[in-house]
Symmetry: C2
Subunit: 424 residues, 2 copies
C-alpha cells in the first residue's frame, strides 16, 4: 500500500479497519494514553471484568467449594478449548497451567528422557532468556551430560531457518526456539523447520509467547511436536495469567511429566498413596491452579476467536508496515535503527527501535505530562512498540511517531534519569 | 469446660466469643447455609472483594503495565511479609509462588542434592498424597537411588512423634510430613521432631497446608529447616491462590532450585543469556505469578493477623471440643466413629466422622432442600467438618449435629446416589 505521512491518511486507514469495533471490548483508561505494550501485558477486556466479578462474588462468595464441580473444572476445559482453537490444535493436546517456564521445564525434561541417546540441545541468542535458563537447569538436573548450543544472531535481529536446520544433526535431542522472538519480533518459519528437523530426529519445542494471538498458528497442520506459550500478552489474559502447553497427540503417551502432583494423577480424588499418571494431556498438571487468574482467560480468549486470527494478522501486518513507513519518513535523521525485520512475513506484531538513549526516550514517552505513550524497553537499547489489532488504531501509530520526533527534536529525554525500574 | 446439649448453651458460647465480629469480615451467602469446609476453601473476605475490584479495574485496567512497579512487585513483598508473620519467620525466609506441590518439588529436589550421601526419604501414610507423588517423582528424577519409606498409621488417625523419630537414622536424607494431616486432623509435634531429627542429620520439610491459619506456627523459634503450605484453606486466599515456601535463613545459600526461571535470577530484567541464581529466597521463583489470585492474599491474610493466632487457636480448640461433645451426646447410637484425635493438643481445626454411608450422608447435608450444611468427604468414609474461628459459630455446630442426627434417624441419605463428583 502507498502510505501517506499525515493524520488524515491514518484516519482513513482506521475508517476502513474492520476490527475497529473491538476496541470497545476493552477498558480504555480515561487519561490521554496510547498503549503500545500489549506485547507485554494486554488491556483489560470488559467482558473479563464482568466475568471476574461473577467468579469472585458468586462462584467463590456464594457457591464456595461447590464451584469446583459447577464452574471451575468446566472452565479449565473451556479455556483449553479456546487455546486449542487459537493454536490449531485439538483439545486433547492442550493444557493450561502454571507458567511458561515451568511448562518448558516439564516438556524439555520429558523430551531429554525420551530422546536419551542424543546429548545436544539447540537454542538461539534471540530466545527469551528464561527459556535458556530452564534448559540450563534441565541439563544440570540430568547430570551435565548434554551440550547446550546457543546459535548466535549476527545482527541481533534474526537467524535464518536454514542456519537452525543446518546446526542440527543426529546428535540433536531437542531444539527450543521462540516462534516470534521477544526483542526484534523476528518470526521463524515453523512449518519449514519442523519438516526438516523431523528428518534429523530432533524434537522441537516452540515458545509461542510472542506470537499467539498475533500470528495464525496451526500446530497440528504443521505437524509440530511441542509448544508452550503465555496468555497475558496479545491474548489479554491479565497479569500472570496461567500459561499453556501443547503436546502432539501422537507423543502424549511417550512423555512423562517430571513433576508428579495430584492433578496429574489418573484420579486425584482417589487419594491413592502411589502415583498413577493420567494417560491424557492432564498428566502435565501438578497442583491446584489459580482459579481467578485462570478464569479471566475464558472471556479474554473469546475476543481473539471472535475477531479471527486471519483478520488480526492482516491488520497487524498493515499496522507494522505503516509504523515502519512513518519511522523512515520522520525519524531517519535521528540515529535511530529499526531492530525488526522489514519483511512482514518475517516478523510478529511489534516494532523495535534501537537508539543509544532508548531507555530515556522510553521514559519521556511514558512519564511526560499530557499525552502518554507506553511502549516498553529491553536492554541495551530496544524500545518495543507492540501493536494489538484488537485495540490499537492507525491514528495512535501516527501520533506516537510524531511524539518520538518531538522528544528527539527537543532532546526531551535529557529531563529523565537513567535509573532503571525493577520492571522495564 | 462443661458443655450442655442445647441451643441456648451454644448461643451462650457465641455471646462470649471475642472473635465473633470477624464473621462480618466475610461474605455470608444469603441462603440457609452452614459452611464447614473452610479447611478446603475459605470464605470470601469482603476486603478481598474490594481489593480485587481495585486490582482488576484500576491496576490492570487503568495503570496497565505500570502496575508491575507501582503495585504488583510491592504486593508480592507485602504478601510474603504477612505469611512470615503468620508462620513465625522472617521475610527473608519466605516466598509466595506456584503451588504447594511445585514448591515441595523444588525443596525436596534441593535437599536431596544437598544431602547427597543419604538415600532414605521418610513420609507417612497420613500425608497428603500429592506430597508423596512429588517425592516419588523426585526419586525417579534422581535415578531411583533413594528409598521412600511410608510409615503406616495403625488406626488411620495418628502416628506418634516417637515412631517418626525412631524410624529415622543416619541414612535419612529427608522427612516430609504434614503438620496437621488432611484426613484425621492429627497434629504432629514440630518442635520435638525437629529437635530429635537434627541430631540424626535429617532435614524435615513440613507441609503446613492444614495447619496454617488454624494453629500457631513458630518456624524460626522451633529451628525448622523447611516448610511449604497453601493459602486457600484457613487463610481464605481464594480458589487456588498461590502457595508459600519457607527456608531457614541459614540454609538458603546451600540450596539450589532445580527449576531455573527468570524470576529466580539475580536480575531478571538484565536478560542475560546465562542463569545467575538470586542469592535470596527469591531464587525459588520461576516464572510470572498469577497476580490477581496472588493479590487476594494481601487483604485475606491481614484478617488472620488482626484476629491473632493465639485467639484463633483458643476458639477452634473450644469449637472442636464442643463438636466432639455433641457427637458423643447425640450420635453415639449410629455406628459413627470419630476419626480425629480426642486430645485437642494433638489435632488441628477439623473433626472427621467416619461412617460407611459417609458419602451419601455428606450429599444429604449439602443437597437437601432448606438448610444446607457443607462439610467435605474424603474416601473411603471420612466426612470432614472444618471449623474456622473467623466465621463459624457454636450455634452452627449445634445445628449441624442436630441435622446429622435427623439424616441418620430418617435414613435420608438413601435418597441420594453413590455417584462421585469430580471434586468431593
Amino acid at each position: 500500500m502507498n502510505f501517506e505521512n499525515n493524520l488524515e491518511f491514518a484516519k482513513s486507514l482506521d475508517a476502513k479497519d474492520e476490527l475497529k469495533k473491538f476496541k470497545n471490548e476493552f477498558f480504555n483508561p480515561a487519561e490521554n494514553l496510547i498503549y503500545l505494550d500489549g506485547n507485554s501485558l494486554g488491556k483489560l477486556p470488559l467482558r473479563t471484568k464482568e466475568l471476574l466479578k461473577k467468579v469472585i462474588d458468586e462462584e467463590w462468595g456464594s457457591r464456595l467449594i461447590r464451584s469446583w464441580n459447577e464452574n471451575w473444572l468446566p472452565r479449565q476445559k473451556s479455556v483449553r478449548e479456546r487455546i486449542a482453537k487459537i493454536i490449531g490444535a485439538d483439545l486433547s493436546e492442550v493444557n493450561v497451567c502454571d507458567s511458561v517456564s515451568i511448562n518448558l521445564f516439564k516438556l524439555s525434561s520429558a523430551v531429554l528422557q525420551l530422546n536419551s541417546d542424543c546429548k545436544e540441545i539447540i537454542t538461539d541468542s534471540l530466545n527469551f532468556p528464561s527459556d535458556i535458563y530452564i534448559l540450563e537447569s534441565v541439563i544440570n538436573n540430568f547430570g551435565n551430560k548434554h551440550e547446550l548450543r546457543i546459535i548466535e544472531s549476527k545482527d541481533e535481529i534474526q537467524i535464518s531457518s536454514e542456519e537452525i536446520i543446518n546446526s542440527c544433526s543426529k546428535k540433536t535431542a531437542l531444539v527450543v526456539l521462540s516462534h516470534v522472538v521477544f526483542k526484534s519480533a523476528y518470526k521463524y518459519d515453523i512449518p519449514l523447520i519442523t519438516k526438516e528437523l523431523k528428518k534429523k530426529g530432533a524434537y522441537v519445542i516452540w515458545d509461542l509467547s510472542h506470537s499467539v494471538g498475533s500470528v495464525p498458528i496451526k500446530l497440528d497442520e504443521w505437524n509440530c511436536d511441542f509448544a508452550v506459550g503465555c496468555t497475558y500478552k496479545y491474548l489479554n489474559g491479565g497479569p500472570g495469567s496461567p500459561a499453556f502447553l501443547y503436546v502432539n497427540k501422537n507423543l502424549i503417551k511417550d512423555l512423562q511429566n517430571p513433576i508428579w502432583g495430584w492433578f496429574g494423577a489418573d484420579n486425584p480424588f482417589n487419594f491413592d498413596l502411589s502415583f498413577t499418571e493420567s494417560s491424557s494431556i492432564e498428566k502435565f498438571n501438578v497442583g491446584t491452579q489459580p482459579i481467578i487468574s485462570l478464569s479471566a482467560l475464558e472471556s479474554s480468549l473469546q475476543i481473539t476467536i471472535d475477531a479471527g486470527m486471519e483478520n488480526i494478522r492482516e491488520k497487524n501486518i498493515l499496522m507494522t508496515e505503516y509504523l515502519i513507513f512513518l519511522i523512515k519518513e520522520n525519524l531517519s535523521e535521528y540515529h535511530i535503527e529499526i531492530g525488526t525485520p522489514l519483511n512482514s512475513k518475517e516478523r510478529g506484531s511489534h516494532i523495535t527501535l534501537k537508539h543509544k538513549e532508548g531507555y530515556r526516550i522510553c521514559k519521556a514517552l511514558i512519564e511526560s505530562k499530557g499525552l502518554k505513550i507506553i511502549p516498553d524497553f529491553r536492554k541495551p537499547d530496544n524500545i518495543r512498540f507492540g501493536l494489538n489489532s484488537l485495540y490499537n488504531s492507525f491514528e495512535e501509530i501516527f501520533i506516537a511517531v510524531k511524539r518520538i520526533k518531538e522528544i528527539l527534536d527537543m532532546n526531551e529525554f535529557e529531563n529523565f534519569d537513567l535509573e532503571f525500574d525493577a520492571v522495564t
